[in-house]
Subunit: 325 residues, 4 copies
């Protein structure tokens, strides 16, 4: 449980100057599945109560959807019956259970020798030192998880935070990219075609609100490369086949190669901003103006780092151990 | 059937100077599910026989995996029992059935007023005119599908082809990006969290060999934007809510907004190249050298265009109509 | 909600002389998914707290499994980590959420003109008047649901209750059969082979503890019939095709015929009895004796009637409406 | 392959006097997944061509559905587009692929020490010696599989065959019951509630045409028993917990107990009979008469024995090994 809570704390609001000032304790209440500190085979059910939500902050969005947010599509999908309070089922708050599940899966993966960790690859144009695609170690991943701000290079991290605060000062928001690295996956893991590592990880990661792109290895940059530079040469290190470079992000044909698996997720800027925007009033069918005044993150990326790890952990657990009974 | 065959022809090898010179007829043989020209409710089973495969071209790869290709991971996954001939289950040839299925799904989607089409967004640094995220029409999508080379701007298409042939002349290969646009999706389509439009489309598109990245709307570029510029303002056009811009690619909260849905898929350069590369011999545990001499595409992107459409069509069919009985 | 609570009340313990004297209020607490009395599109989460469980009643079974009960298999499956209190994940109490879900599905099915209801077909050798396989009406199904004891013939119901009390007096238990009838299913419903009506309903109904057999229409009796007597002749009633008899229980080829769908579920006698039995002590590896002294139903069948309805409703909802978005 | 073909031969028509006189060779053609006699990780695709089907035998049923057969529901489900030839997707012929898959799964289960076999429990009222629920051995299961007629007691088998031929002489048909026994399942196998052994096996077995009931252990007879007689007492045999009786068919709480798993499947009489019956003409909306003149089994039960084994093998493989990668 302590390991799970440490992941949840990294996502918690109110923890730093760059995050929303809501103060959720985010302590899960276990309803079933745990007996004397161990899982007991029954479904593990944890509940996160909302302790500091101010539903009145959301009244304005019931009929006037925030541009860039799910308010509009949720309203249409449910014919107006959607729970608009706190963004309802589209709130970033839904990530608390994902992180809970991911932290648990990460523990189970660790028993198989698998470690994973993520950092902020960039906030707008300010980029952190990327993970080394060939030599990243478990210790390096752990160090970022324990750092106060999830950047490899603390100096870059400070510049990122300044950038976020600067946007907040303008009542605006910024986006960014999270990079995740997975070590120790057995070569061959992943199923063909639609159930490969890329497919399953992407399906999970796009479940995090605000993610608009996912790429593995060099990703979109590979589209500008030549085969001769993009191919990763094989060589033997002892009895193990390794690759000298890792442009393919540790995945070939949907299966793990045994090298580090690397992927990036692009986050758009938070749509909830304090600048007045054009919208519509769905109750009257008239144009409307909206300015979002609640306590919202000017940038979700720092808090999204454990969410990306969690989504990857859940997808990998399912591929690797999900069927073991 | 004529519609399906027209999609398959667009993917067929041997059709142009930039593609592999293998000459597969790619005519599916229907084993079940079709009666008097109509589907009859039984599973539709189509078989594509390999008529012009030269398995001996692949003997060299049985134990010496091509860098960047699935030869290695397939060997490890199956303890060496994998079908190495023609790349086996990892051959681009597996896309013929996907295009068959996608063309069929596209017909069913068309009855619901949904149209989709793709083009080559770029080959290396040479970019086509992108689809207009707000105003693209069904006719424009159809025009690209009927063009001899799948580019909106024929002039750019010629430069792309020249680039491919230039790489082929160096026995090398190039990658590129495919952009796909879907019109007519009902607002609200898509399920929350892990089964949204982005999740399902990405899961399907990563099933196409060589895809290393998928992004929706502005994707990775959105990570550098501000909320104030990235949000798409809502307005009424008659009784319909539309957005003035479409940075979010027609998707909010995993659901369709009713605007065009746009996504891009990044393809790495074909790993099979005629330049000598470093590899290993899995039968001896020794280093090895490999030069791929078979007939391979110097660039898979032109033939991948209908595959991207097909993957999207299959995912959408499943979300929209899969459960209807 | 009132409709759902009425179903839950029918399953509630403590309601009659023949049921366990535990007094659970069985009032679900709604955590999410409901807004202003209507479902809002988010997952509907209801929690049933245990208000009157006496965990000490179960201490004796931790290492000495009750014969005929899941104590043993749960212990083996989880290497002894199972939640033994109250039977844990194998408690009949797990049926409260099933009935909740089933009552909700039944409401949604009712909008499609589908009604379903069950009664006790027999307790041991004492049989109720069976449902008429051709002429049963919605009103008849409702009447049994509203009766104080779920038998069509109240006189037979009294004899059943006497039989249960007589077994209870001997500290023993009895089994029985529940019959369920579904009206209004559209002809053709059900998917081929493994996803037909029989497959899906059976999969759901075997999820109720103590069910050991499921049969449709004449079921096992059909194995002794001839084709000439078992076939149901078709005829037109107006424009509707009906069958003169209904030996096949309204299902042919896994699909609904449009006639009433009828099935029976066999329940074994409650394994928890007050008579001393032979068992083992899993902590010592020695033989043991056990006498179950808690408050257990001498017959689960009366309380299982809404569970059978609920399992059928969930399976039908999934087949009929599950894919509609 | 030889093992698979031996299973297929047991299901083959034309093999005995009691079966249809169609003479299908039933030799599967392997399209993919097999390389040098071993599976290679790609999907294993086998095709059974129809060599001796006389489609004209079925013309009469296109609009005049056979009572008791899926002709009617298939027609309604597909708005008349169904493949009526040979019963289409509802033909017993679909069992050839099931037996192929089941024989393969049985081989994989055998490596885990699991054996399974079935026999005809009864044809109408004529019953074979049932399997001993406690002491049945692997050799006994194999002996029935190798017998010319699948009965434990050859004398009873002769009486069954006489009964079938007698019905055939009257142009009528008979039903029966198949009993299946599974040895060597590890205690604890099966998942809770809807994915237990009973649920999964029942879902698979109801996929065999003509099955109308499935029961485990004493099944419907248990509904007439008392807890004191139906409970199976536990005892230690060395370090293994066994039960003295096996009324529960080797399953408690959905999980295997480690004792033999026993279940029975009830088959209705073949609906295709040579006696004139009442039906309707779906093309005219008028009453019609039908007499089925093709070559049909007067009893499907003997040929269904390997189908029941196959369905169980597929379900068990999925539960036990399906997730291993």
């Amino acid at each position: 449980m302590e390991h799970i809570l440490s992941w949840i704390r990294r996502r918690r609001p109110g923890a730093s100057a760059t995050a929303t000032q809501r103060n959720e304790q985010d302590t899960p209440e276990i309803l079933s599945g745990l007996l004397e500190g161990k899982t007991c085979g029954a479904p593990l059910c944890a509940v996160f109560q909302n302790s500091d939500a101010r539903s009145e902050d959301y009244d304005a969005f019931r009929f006037v959807p925030r541009p860039g947010h799910a308010d509009f599509t949720a309203y249409i999908k449910t014919d107006g019956a959607n729970d608009f309070r706190g963004g309802g089922h589209y709130s970033g708050r839904l990530m608390a259970p994902l992180v809970f599940a991911g932290a648990l899966c990460a523990q189970l993966l660790e028993r198989e020798g698998i470690a994973l960790g993520a950092h902020i690859h960039s906030i707008g144009p300010i980029a952190d030192t990327p993970f080394d695609p060939v030599h990243t170690t478990k210790e390096q991943l752990l160090a970022v998880q324990q750092a106060p701000f999830p950047a490899v290079d603390a100096e870059k991290g400070k510049r990122m935070q300044a950038r976020i605060l600067e946007a907040a000062g303008r009542h605006d928001s910024v986006g960014g990219v999270v990079e995740c690295c997975i070590l120790g996956l057995p070569a061959g893991l992943g199923d063909p075609i639609f159930d490969g590592l890329e497919n399953r990880i992407a399906q999970a990661v796009f479940g995090i609100p605000a993610v608009k792109g996912v790429e593995f290895g060099d990703g979109f940059a590979a589209a500008c490369a030549s085969g001769s530079t993009n191919n990763d040469a094989f060589y033997y290190e002892g009895n193990t086949v390794r690759t000298r470079t890792n442009h393919n992000g540790g995945i070939l044909g949907g299966h793990a190669t045994g090298m580090p698996v690397l992927f990036k997720a692009a986050f758009k800027p938070t749509p909830s901003i304090g600048i007045e925007q054009e919208s519509v009033d769905l109750s009257t069918g008239e144009p409307a103006r909206i300015r979002v005044s609640g306590r919202h993150d000017p940038c979700v990326v720092p808090r999204a780092v454990p969410c990306v790890e969690a989504a990857a952990a859940v997808a990998l657990y399912d591929l690797l151990l999900g069927g073991k009974r």
